[in-house]
């Protein structure tokens, strides 16, 4: 823009005809307008708040709440030792990264030498573990009660939101892939059924669906005395669903660690297999060794520790069932509403993703002699995933955001708990600010992760 004006020469530099000047003027005007609006809003808000006698600031978070939350869980509250733990994780990761770069520069891979693998494991896992043992207090868990602070109430709400979103995303993905593939079935009836499901569900507001599941289905289930009872293992009544609850016994943590180690082992084994195939074209057996690693090693630990998990079954005591795993009616209704609604959306994404892969790809794969399953797994799915992932991300964001609808049926997630605190304390701006910040952070995290995954999938493209 500026070169143009200099070439013409005749145009005055400070003139309305100069785009650069105009751009500066526009920007100054918009800054002034926004600033003025913000200032007015600030002034009015301060005046309104002082009139109502509400002190602004976040000190209310320490006040005792005095109300109960129906679903609580032990929530981690950070201790000073957390900082050193986190920094040790970061240092370990950086060290492993540097090692990786250094080895790659020499033309080797970390996976090629078991000493390097051990060193990486040492950096990533052992260093934080040692720090953990040394500091021994990185967080304490607290469980919310009426005597707890508003702050703890909000944190509990966040954890309920997370609990809701994660399971909702998983179930919606399962439903979505199942129905999406059914829509492309060669069986006309199955395809039409799947289409009917999608067209009905996605044209009805999700809040209405949640109300339906909650008020019309779960609330009208039989009373406690007439519960639907499957062999005392699954029990359904209008207070929710009762499932057997695995209770960890003392030896449980070593078992978890063994399971984790087995997973890491399988991961490295898969990498090794892929490296061998890329190098020589030889296909090593994958499925059975993986299953063997996953089952045998943790299984041995399990037996060695003497089955460190006990299933506790729900029992009828007095007027209610106790024991067992009991998702609340609200949680169950939210989960059904969200996963069924978003499942229908994901089904459409999956269908269009698979259809986006051109038929030529499938025909070429078949011409190369690949069999049915391999055509799907090696040719169609990897290409479809590239189309599927971006809209899938926004669906996951949608599940997380729609979990806020729990406020309508009293599921104590962030917005719901925040609303109660807002009504009690009147700290509207702070509460809404905190809520928005948490959701923004969650959205940001999910989209960063999915962008990273998307990049990874894209690299395959030439």
């Amino acid at each position: 823009m500026t070169e143009l004006t200099q070439e013409q020469g005749k145009v005055q530099l400070i003139s309305w005809r100069n785009p650069a000047v105009r751009s500066v003027v526009y920007q100054i005007v918009s800054v002034v307008l926004v600033g003025f609006a913000a200032y007015t809003i600030f002034q009015n808000t301060v005046a309104n708040l002082t009139k109502r006698g509400i002190a602004s600031g976040f000190s209310f978070l320490n006040i005792e709440s005095g109300f109960a939350i129906s679903e609580v869980m032990p929530v981690p509250m950070l201790e000073p030792g957390f900082v050193s733990f986190i920094s040790s994780i970061f240092l370990g990761l950086i060290a492993a990264f540097v090692l990786h770069k250094w080895v790659t520069r020499k033309g080797k891979t970390v996976g090629g030498d078991y000493r390097l693998v051990l060193l990486t494991i040492f950096f990533i896992f052992v260093v934080p573990a040692i720090t953990y043992l040394l500091t021994n207090h990185i967080f304490v868990t607290e469980t919310y009660s009426e005597a707890s602070s508003y702050g703890l109430g909000l944190v509990t709400g966040v954890f309920n939101t997370i609990k809701m979103s994660i399971l909702g995303c998983i179930l919606a993905t399962i439903i979505g892939f199942f129905v999406g593939i059914a829509r492309l079935s060669s069986n006309w009836l199955v395809a039409k059924l799947a289409e009917t499901y999608v067209e009905i569900i996605r044209n009805i507001p999700v809040l209405l669906q949640i109300f339906f599941w909650y008020f019309a289905v779960i609330r009208t289930l039989p009373m406690v005395r007439e519960s639907i009872n499957f062999f005392d293992v699954f029990i359904i009544n209008n207070r929710g669903i009762y499932l057997p609850d695995p209770t960890p016994l003392p030896g449980f943590h070593p078992f978890l660690i063994a399971l984790f180690v087995a997973c890491v082992g399988v991961y490295f084994r898969l990498r090794h297999v892929k490296a061998v195939q890329d190098l020589t074209g030889r296909q090593l057996p994958v499925l059975f060794p993986s299953i063997a690693i996953l089952i045998v090693f943790p299984g041995l630990v399990w037996m060695g520790l003497g089955a460190p998990v006990e299933l506790s079954y729900p029992k009828l005591t007095g007027f209610n069932f106790t024991g067992g795993l009991n998702p609340s009616p609200e949680y169950a209704a939210m989960l059904m509403g969200l996963s069924i609604y978003h499942g229908s959306q994901i089904a459409e994404i999956v269908r269009s993703g698979i259809q986006a892969v051109s038929t030529g790809q499938k025909e070429a794969a078949r011409a190369l002699g690949l069999r049915g399953g391999f055509v799907m797994r090696l040719v169609v799915i990897p290409q479809a995933m590239r189309v599927i992932i971006p809209p899938l991300t926004s669906q996951y964001l949608g599940v997380t955001k729609n979990s806020s609808l729990g406020v309508a049926i009293g599921f104590p997630e962030l917005v719901s708990v925040g609303g109660t605190i807002l009504n009690q304390s009147g700290q509207a701006i702070e509460i809404i600010g905190i809520t928005m910040a948490v959701y923004l952070a969650a959205s940001l995290m999910i989209s960063v992760f999915m962008n990273w995954y998307n990049e990874k999938m894209k690299l395959v493209e030439r």
């Binding site: 009015n44 309104n48 079935s185 999700v206 809520t435």
Partner: protein, 369 residues
Amino acid sequence: MSGEIIGAVPPLEAGPPKMNIGVVGWIRMNLFNTWYNSILTVLSLSLIYYTVTSLLNWGVRLARFTGVKPEDCQGIDGACWPVISDNWAFFMVGTYPYELRWRPLMALLVVVALIMLAVWPRIRRMRLYQLAWLVSPIVIFIIIKGSDTFGLSQVDTRHWGGVMLTVILSVVGIVFAFPIGLMLALGRRSRMPVINILCVGYIEMIRGVPLITVLFMSSIMLPLFFPEGFNLDKVLRAQIGIIMFAAAYQAEVVRGGLQGVDRGQEEAAMALGLSYWQSMVLIVLPQALKIVIPTMVSSAISLLKDTSLVVIIGLFDLLGIANLVLANPIWLGKMFETYVFVAAIYWVMCFSMSRYARRLEIRFSAGDR
């Protein structure tokens, strides 16, 4: 392909086997072509049979259609449809005063008449007709809200509800969100850093939070932002929240369209000496908006569904009326009927719009090739 094969037998004059054509052939090809497809077909058929028969039994065979009193429904296993017929006006216009209900009806007639007139292309191109569309929102607002100058008594927005409120919230939401979203989209592509940051910040912030927090903000925080004594109507506050929310999504839709227009178009417009606004209004936007009309219809559908969230901040839109009816002790326990009815209304509105969007998509893609 006409290689002469010596000694080739001339093909028999026989069609394909009877089992492979016609209805039987179609069923064999599409429903029973493999053993697992046969199992799936049988399973689906039994599922369909079970669902359809139980729905028909509940909704028609065992249901009660007549009667206005709840007692009429005693002792039946099926649906109790009087809950709908008795509350019909309630579902449509909420607690709008009984003797003034002809006014929403008239507003509806105005809209229907305008839509019907659009069938004739001659009328569609008339200036007067286009003017009527432009004026119609004001006329409808006056009819529904009332105005002393026209001798229509005022109806407080507290009494707005039902389908009327749902439609008002979504239509006004879309109409006002569109220009704001357009500006935001242009601002997002702007090369002026300040304007760019402001627009990107707004869009990403609104899109990152749930609608319910935006509604809370507009209904609880907004009154704090204005000087003392400045009273904002409750419906208006919800409407502002919806517009703010929809604008951010519209901005992204429009941006998608702008990205679909070749950069050369804008450069050519500039080379012709058009100013930024001229090139946008005359060259780029007509092409960009045409691409995204189907997407806009789908975002209108989402908005229509999302307006149901105003229930949470205490408005009585269609869903809110459903809850209100169910809270009435007379109609206690008629949840299935009420929710199915409300769902059907939402479904008809959203499904017809989505079909319309698909038709537009096909028509536009046909125009391009």
